[in-house]
């Protein structure tokens, strides 16, 4: 009878779906290089609203310092695998970075991710490719000059960022207003909906440089946290990690890194931000001998 055939068909369909989901789940045990070789795609998670690390410029292109560094890694991956690999960008934000990486949706996070010990429980980090600290962005002339002044004030931050966590845990007297991403947070600041917006100093410099009227803003306060940026990748993948680290070391040694730094952070760059002596020394000393 028709009914019996239909039921069998439906049951088989459910079973097939279940099996395929379960079966495909097992495919997650390969290394990153194997995965890139198999799929032919190298996916990098980066920001869309954090100039100049990863952002969309006036010509609506997706560019940035971190993206350029990731492209160097891509070149080395192609050399290692001996074949041409597609380079793909995906948006990652503080609240989606780690899940995107652990689920295999991206292979590398190259954006503005701070290397912290607790994050190292979930992901591995490359060498530090930039060092900054958290500060505040305010309208010029604002009474807020640093972390001591934020009690009772409205402070904007991004959900999932280290900055948000520090303010929430160490400075509960400040009124934290948390936005899902940078565009919302910065627009809120521009409209006075928050008194200050907190993020890493260099990102604030980027926002200021890209704002319609950069002179209206200033970055205030000592670094209230140390924010070393690293590229994140899945845990326990030493081969891939070696490639990323070697790429960074070669770039610093061979001056490609500094050429890129000039392009983005030099006096004529998108966001002028001179390299301090101490950070320069730190970068150079990360390059271990061959």
């Amino acid at each position: 009878m028709v009914h019996r055939r239909r039921i069998r068909g439906v049951v088989l369909l459910w079973v097939a779906l279940g099996l395929s989901v379960w079966g495909v789940g097992h495919a997650a045990a390969e290394t990153t290089l194997e995965k890139i070789g198999r799929t032919g795609v190298f996916t990098v998670g980066t920001r869309t609203g954090s100039p100049p690390f990863g952002f969309i410029n006036k010509q609506n292109e997706w560019v940035g310092f971190s993206i350029d560094l990731a492209k160097l890694v891509h070149a080395n991956i192609e050399k290692k695998l001996g074949k041409s690999i597609k380079f793909e960008l995906k948006e990652s934000k503080p609240d989606t970075r780690i899940p995107l990486l652990s689920s295999g949706a991206v292979d590398l996070i190259a954006g503005t991710m701070t290397d912290t010990r607790s994050r190292r429980d979930s992901v591995d980090f490359s060498l530090t490719f930039f060092a900054t600290g958290a500060q505040f962005l305010v309208k010029k002339g604002s009474p807020i000059r640093g972390i001591k002044d934020i009690a009772g004030k409205r402070i904007g931050a991004q959900q999932g960022s280290t900055n948000e966590r520090i303010i929430r845990e160490k400075h509960p007297q400040a009124q934290l207003v948390v936005f899902p991403d940078q565009p919302a947070g910065f627009t809120a600041l521009a409209q006075g909906k928050v008194d200050a917006y907190t993020n890493d100093g260099i990102q604030l410099a980027g926002l200021q440089a890209k704002a319609p009227k950069p002179d209206e803003w200033e970055i205030v306060g000592e670094f209230y946290s140390y924010e070393p940026y690293g590229m994140a990748m899945r845990k326990n993948d030493s081969e891939f990690r070696a490639i990323v680290n070697n790429t960074l070391m070669e770039a610093i040694e061979g001056r490609e890194y500094f050429r890129l730094y000039e392009k983005w952070f030099g006096p004529k760059g998108e966001v002028p931000y001179p390299l301090s002596e101490i950070v320069l020394a730190f970068l150079l000393m990360q390059v271990v001998p061959k």
């Binding site: 028709v2 009914h3 239909r6 039921i7 439906v10 989901v21 495909v24 789940g25 097992h26 495919a27 997650a28 799929t39 795609v41 996916t43 869309t48 609203g49 969309i56 006036k58 609506n60 292109e61 997706w62 995906k90 948006e91 934000k93 989606t96 899940p99 995107l100 652990s102 689920s103 295999g104 949706a105 991206v106 899902p180 991403d181 940078q182 565009p183 919302a184 910065f186 627009t187 521009a190 409209q191 890209k210 704002a211 319609p212």
Partner: protein
């Protein structure tokens, strides 16, 4: 305050071509998401609607649970579930577009299933009896007699739900898919002109949805809805 409509003039291409239509380097696109979502969602909705009406409890109950579940949770939550957990389950990398499409199809199918069910139930019992007595099997009966009539009855509610789905695509911007809303957010961060930008995309959305409801009205008239009730 002064209005600065120049921000629309210089960015409308990005907003419309990339955001609305998905033509450009970022993929995505409201229409590119909405149209497949409507088609696939409707197909899944028909299946679940039919299961909902099945005689056998082991087909009916999962369908009932499915519908009741997805109608009781926000779409944002469903999108987050798919965004975080599908990749973990399948170990595959998925673009935002695929995640958003899957979430929308699965979610909207629950609502469409109810519309399908109501539509099928509105077909007079005599039709089923006549079809069965002519020797048609269940599938033939559904395909040639019941569903055509049911769909005609359902059109107002279907189009209403399709319009809802179209508007819901704006939520894909929350996971970073480049649709019209996300495009406006990106431009707004650069230019800080939210009033002009959001008003502009509100008008664009309005034009699209209003066209859809006008189309539905014309379709209704042409097919001659026997129920005659306005949407």
């Amino acid at each position: 305050m002064t209005f600065d409509w120049a921000v629309i003039v210089s960015n409308w291409k990005f907003l419309i071509l990339q955001g609305l239509m998905g033509i450009g380097a970022f993929g995505g696109g409201t229409l590119r998401l909405a149209i497949p979502a409507i088609v696939l969602g409707f197909m899944l909705g028909v299946v679940i609607g039919l299961c909902r009406l099945a005689q056998r409890p082991w087909i009916r109950y999962p369908a009932v649970l499915y519908v009741e579940f997805f109608r009781g949770v926000p779409l944002v939550m469903v999108i987050f579930w798919f965004w975080f957990l599908i990749p973990q389950m399948t170990g595959q990398r998925l673009p935002e577009y695929t995640v958003a499409l899957t979430a929308f199809v699965v979610f909207e199918a629950a609502y469409l299933a109810e519309i399908v069910r109501a539509g099928i139930q509105s077909v007079p019992r005599s039709q089923i009896d006549a079809a069965a007595s002519s020797g048609l099997s269940y599938l033939q009966m559904m395909r040639h007699v019941i569903l055509p009539q049911a769909i005609r009855n359902m059109i107002p509610s279907l189009v209403t739900q399709f319009i809802v789905l179209f508007k819901d695509t704006s939520l894909a911007s929350i996971i970073g898919m480049m649709d019209l809303t996300k495009a406006a957010q990106i431009v707004s961060q650069r230019e800080i002109r939210p009033f002009e930008l959001y008003l502009f995309i509100a008008v664009v959305y309005w034009i699209c949805t209003y066209s859809m409801s006008r189309f539905s009205r014309r379709l209704e008239l042409r097919l001659g809805s026997p129920m005659g009730n306005p949407a």
